[in-house]
């Protein structure tokens, strides 16, 4: 029955997609609202503070190419566009280093406000995303595509150009690393006011992103 319901949900989603393709603006709005938060969070892990701009570019292209979408996993299609946009962005940035993001923006790291976001929750959205983004890139992407965007391993693999098995492995490693980080966090933070120990984000460089978590 789970399977049946999934089929049903897929139908509804694809109906919304078809309606948007037929010109229904409201349907497009629903798709945007359903997908944008996850897309933005994913892109933030890829390009940092420029994620909003990359997301706008992504939606421009989605709107433009929507008539060409021929079926399949719509979310994967959108995310693929977003990822390509992000890669373009990174390439351009390398060519024009002067346009890099001001350091202040890179250090807008989650603080107490975010941590206290949900009373009952141990970790705010921002802090959670920061921790995920501190993983090695492949693992971070796998976890984000699976958990935040909600793709299955096969679709995530298509977005990343990798096998589903590779995505599973990366996600598994990422989860283990996250569990480790959480343990460290639990060990280090005793006082309630001591926010999350700042994950290695923002200023962390290429080098630090690819090395394994120590400890």
């Amino acid at each position: 029955m789970e399977r049946e319901r999934q089929g049903h949900d897929r139908d509804e989603l694809s109906q919304a997609v078809q309606a948007a393709q037929a010109g229904d603006e409201q349907a497009f709005r629903l798709l945007y609202r359903g997908l944008q938060p996850g897309l933005l969070r994913y892109l933030t892990a890829l390009v940092g503070a420029d994620a909003e701009d990359v997301a706008s570019e992504t939606w421009l292209q989605v709107a433009r190419d929507l008539p060409n979408f021929t079926g399949g996993e719509f979310r994967a299609w959108v995310v693929t566009i977003g990822r390509n946009r992000a890669m373009d962005h990174l390439r351009r940035q390398r060519r024009r280093p002067t346009l890099s993001v001001p350091v202040e923006e890179l250090t807008e790291v989650p603080g107490a406000a975010d941590t206290a976001e949900h009373a009952g929750e141990s970790l705010g959205t921002e802090a959670a995303l920061a921790m995920i983004a501190s993983l090695p890139p492949r693992e971070a992407e796998a976890v984000l595509l699976r958990a935040v965007i909600g793709l299955d391993a096969e679709s995530a693999g298509r977005v990343l150009g990798r096998r589903a098995g590779a995505v599973r492995t990366a996600a598994h490693r990422g989860l283990r690393r996250l569990a480790l980080l959480l343990e460290q966090r639990a060990g280090h933070v005793e006082s309630p006011d001591g926010v999350v120990p700042r994950p290695r984000t923002g200023r962390s460089s290429q080098a630090s992103r690819t090395e394994p978590v120590d400890g």
Partner: protein
């Protein structure tokens, strides 16, 4: 029932396939209703990461919708919109959201397009034929400002394939075609709307981003973008401008 809530649920449920492993249960559970069981910190982390939209995350909605309209105007005259149940409810759904400022989690991920997989994948399989090929060309090209008066390769609203030319398809539209007149490029309309839809404080930053490089070039400099866009939209989409352009006067200026 609120359609937006339904859509949210649907997207969430789609994420849950029958759990193949502990990993899958965790990952899929991120978007599922909270289980009453003892909270697993890792599950909580994933759940927090997949939490519903926060304020600010949907700021680009107007721009996205503008792009949608623009694409339709330029492209096929679509069939009559189907109303179905895809209507209201969104407001309620949004009203239930938590309020936190979202300063983008800034996590520059420099290592991402790492050596062995730097090129966006050729997407094997059936899913997404278009996005892999098309995206690099269009909006991103920081092309030369000259010689692009008409349609250029960087024209963001010119579909890369599959859509008929914008000229004769839509008799209902006010037939803009400002392409060859001044330097106005109708293709910039989408970017213009995206730009004008941004809160004032984000505009400057937007213009510094490579995605808007074409627009800045077409306008002849960042300081001219507002004027350029208003002029362009006055020709191509006066209605939109009337609705959104008013704010512009107060925010831009000197």
């Amino acid at each position: 029932m609120a359609d937006m809530a339904r859509m949210g649920m649907i997207l969430r449920r789609l994420a849950r396939s029958a759990g193949r492993s502990g990993d899958d249960r965790l990952l899929d559970g991120a978007r599922a209703p909270r289980s009453p069981a003892a909270p697993d910190p890792l599950a909580e982390l994933l759940r927090a990461a997949a939490a519903p939209a926060r304020p600010g995350e949907l700021d680009g909605e107007q721009a996205a919708l503008a792009a949608f309209r623009e694409a339709r105007r330029a492209g096929v005259p679509a069939a009559r919109p189907r109303r179905r149940r895809l209507t209201a409810g969104v407001v309620l759904w949004l009203a239930g959201l938590t309020a936190t400022a979202t300063a983008g989690v800034a996590l520059a991920a420099a290592g991402l397009d790492a050596p062995d997989e730097s090129v966006p994948p050729p997407a094997p399989g059936t899913v997404a034929p278009m996005p892999t090929g098309a995206p690099t060309a269009s909006t991103g090209v920081p092309g030369p400002p000259d010689s692009t008066a008409g349609t250029s390769t960087g024209d963001p609203t010119t579909p890369s394939s599959g859509v008929p030319s914008p000229t004769s398809t839509n008799p209902a539209s006010p037939s803009p075609v400002p392409e060859a007149t001044t330097n106005l490029r109708s293709g910039d309309a989408g970017h213009c709307k995206a730009y004008l839809s941004k809160p004032a404080r984000q505009r400057e930053k937007a213009l510094a981003s490579p995605g808007f490089a074409d627009l800045v070039a077409a306008a002849g400099g960042a300081e001219n973008v507002s004027a350029y866009c208003r002029e362009l939209l006055a020709e191509t989409d006066p209605n939109w401008l009337a609705k959104h352009g008013a704010e512009e006067d107060s925010t831009a200026g000197g």
